[in-house]
């Protein structure tokens, strides 16, 4: 090598490393660790998950316990975050709300992700008419504001948590599909796939052994990145009255209920809102960190 300019060397090394899957993961992890915000995000989410899992243990009251005499009490020693319009302890409801939020969020991204992977792989791998049809479907769905379409669907399907998941899943897979499709397109013409074809490997086998293992890590990372959207979307739907029904403690519906008492008891809406914000912020930090770790050369910073 006549000209070993440092920078080019490093870039070459990195791209060589990228081609090795196991090293890829550790490289990504190394970059991720360096990102302080991402670490803060991790801590936040860790705490929220902790709260969600141990809600029954750490909540001072039963979130469904009404106590009409003590309704709309300001934060005090007995009720750290006050009580709501039915006398229920806001702190406990907020803790329990994290369970619903995380569960629904997870279900949503998994559902969206599954559809997205499926259609993305189909579109990317088979190309041609399949690709065209799927992309038109993407175009069509993306012409609707997510919340609006999801609300209409969930509203028609009826109340309930699972309808929210299904509605958002049906509407939200487009982002995943596009990403996965691009990823598939980049590897579709790789040498190892051509080689596999030439030795007579069947298409389903090729998809299973080569295509999917490339698609899935991307999808998983996308799910982490899309969690914030899922969380806010489900909270918005419950705020609007679709989806999670009372008395289930849910951050979105708590904000909605608290709205009528904004002057008298602002703590109802505020605590739920703060929790949503912090959780989403945590996921956003992580998501940003993941994006940077995966591809530090994109025009982000």
């Amino acid at each position: 090598m006549a000209n070993s300019e440092n920078y080019n060397e490093i870039i070459n090394d990195i791209s060589n490393l990228k081609k090795q899957k196991s090293s890829q993961l550790s490289l990504v992890w190394a970059r991720f660790k360096k990102n302080r915000l991402a670490l803060i995000g991790f801590i936040i989410i860790f705490i929220i998950i902790f709260i969600a899992i141990f809600a029954p243990l750490i909540s001072p009251y039963d979130p469904l316990d009404t106590d009409p005499i003590n309704r709309l009490q300001a934060p005090s020693k007995e009720h750290w975050l006050g009580t709501d319009e039915l006398g229920r302890d806001v702190l406990s409801r907020t803790f329990y709300g994290s369970r619903i939020a995380l569960q629904i969020g997870l279900l949503i991204v998994l559902f969206e992700g599954a559809i997205g992977i499926f259609l993305g792989v189909l579109a990317g791998f088979f190309g041609g008419l399949t690709d065209w049809i799927i992309m038109r479907l993407v175009d069509i769905l993306r012409s609707f504001p997510v919340i609006i379409l999801a609300m209409a669907i969930a509203g028609i399907m009826g109340q309930g948590v699972y309808n929210v998941v299904i509605a958002l899943g049906i509407v939200g897979w487009t982002t995943y599909a596009r990403m996965i499709r691009s990823k598939i397109l980049t590897i579709k013409n790789s040498d190892y796939i051509e080689a596999a074809y030439s030795i007579g490997e069947s298409t389903p086998s090729i998809i299973w052994r080569y295509v999917l293992p490339n698609a899935i890590p991307t999808a998983i990372i996308m799910m982490a990145i899309m969690m914030p959207t899922a969380l806010i979307a489900s909270a918005t739907l419950s705020f609007l009255g679709v989806g999670v029904q009372p008395p289930t403690p849910d951050w979105g519906s708590m904000i909605s209920a608290g709205r009528d008492y904004l002057i008298r008891a602002p703590w109802i809406s505020t605590s739920a809102g703060l929790f949503i914000m912090v959780t989403v912020l945590g996921f956003n930090f992580i998501g940003d960190g993941l994006r940077d770790a995966l591809d530090p050369t994109t025009k982000r910073n």
């Binding site: 012409s143 504001p145 919340i147 399907m157 609007l240 904004l262 989403v280």
Partner: protein
């Protein structure tokens, strides 16, 4: 070649529009069960059910229903609201204005603030302003818009009493709702603007422009901006559905009498003619806006030779 691109593009728009109408139509038929009963509720009389079935041709095969529905739409007949017992078209016409104003203001706030912040952050790279821009962007997209609306309402409407808290009473009632939409969306323009600006400033033609002896302000304002703003057009088209979605929610928070609050109430009241019509309207608007954005982009960027 250029023409071929546009023909394909318009074809795509037509297909997308068609698909959009299909979905708006099929919404009602998603759940098993009698659509008439779904619309009128479990306590409806047989008479009313029969009337609805006749009016919307619910006994006919789906494609017939679709064709007659689309036929009506083209004639301007959007059906009758079950809840208000009024012509849907009229209802929409009444409430479209406020929604347009709200959406437009939100968009304006988002673009102006976002672009400005993005440019400044890029010019003063790694300064406090730069980190602040990035950080506040992340902050805004982490707040649910409806909660932001409620917060603003609480602080500025209830506590400080600077602005009215509900309804359409002139400009002062527009500020909070528009801010609730705009502040959140601004993040989606600030960061890309910054990235784009940074990348443009790194280009050789910027160096060449400086080498010509041009003043730095001219280099930035004329040469850099003109290039960096181009992707913003695309971003606008991309964010439009989200801005509209945000407007719908904000209308509920602020009791803003527009299409958004009408839509939400109609969903909850199962007033499906209204729901379908508004859905259709919004999505067609988005489809057209996307086409418009492509056209503007081609006009604004001379490099686009029309290769789809």
């Amino acid at each position: 070649m250029k023409n071929k691109y546009w023909v394909m593009r318009i074809l795509r728009t037509i297909i997308t529009a068609f698909g959009v109408t299909l979905i708006a139509f099929l919404i009602l038929h998603l759940t098993p069960g009698d659509p008439a009963r779904i619309m009128l509720g479990p306590y409806a009389s047989e008479e009313n059910l029969a009337a609805v079935r006749a009016k919307y041709k619910l006994d006919q095969p789906l494609y017939t229903q679709y064709i007659s529905w689309m036929g009506n739409v083209f004639k301007g007949d959007f059906g009758t609201s079950i809840r208000y017992n009024r012509d849907v078209g009229q209802l929409i016409a009444e409430r479209a204005g406020p929604t347009l104003i709200l959406t437009g203001s939100g968009l304006l706030i988002a673009v102006i603030f976002g672009v400005l912040l993005g440019i400044l952050a890029a010019l003063k790279r790694n300064s406090f302003l730069d980190y602040f821009t990035t950080f506040q962007a992340m902050f805004w997209i982490s707040i649910p818009s409806f909660w932001l609306g409620i917060l603003l309402l609480y602080i500025f409407g209830l506590q400080l009493r600077w602005v009215p808290i509900a309804g359409l009473m002139g400009f002062s009632s527009l500020i909070l709702p528009a801010l609730s939409i705009g502040l959140r969306e601004e993040a989606w323009f600030a960061r890309p603007m910054r990235s784009e600006m940074l990348e443009v400033l790194n280009q050789d033609y910027i160096k060449a422009a400086k080498a010509k002896g041009l003043k730095y302000s001219v280099v930035v304002m004329k040469h850099a901006l003109r290039n960096a703003l181009i992707p913003i057009v695309t971003m606008l088209a991309l964010r439009l559905p989200w801005i509209i979605g945000g407007a719908v929610v904000i209308e509920v928070v602020f009791s803003w009498g527009g299409l958004g609050s009408l839509l939400v109430n109609s969903v909850l009241a199962r007033d499906y003619p209204v729901v379908q019509s508004i859905l259709l309207l919004i999505s067609i608007t988005v489809v057209l806006a996307n086409l418009l954005a492509d056209i503007i982009y081609a006009v604004v960027d001379p490099r686009i030779k029309g290769e789809g």
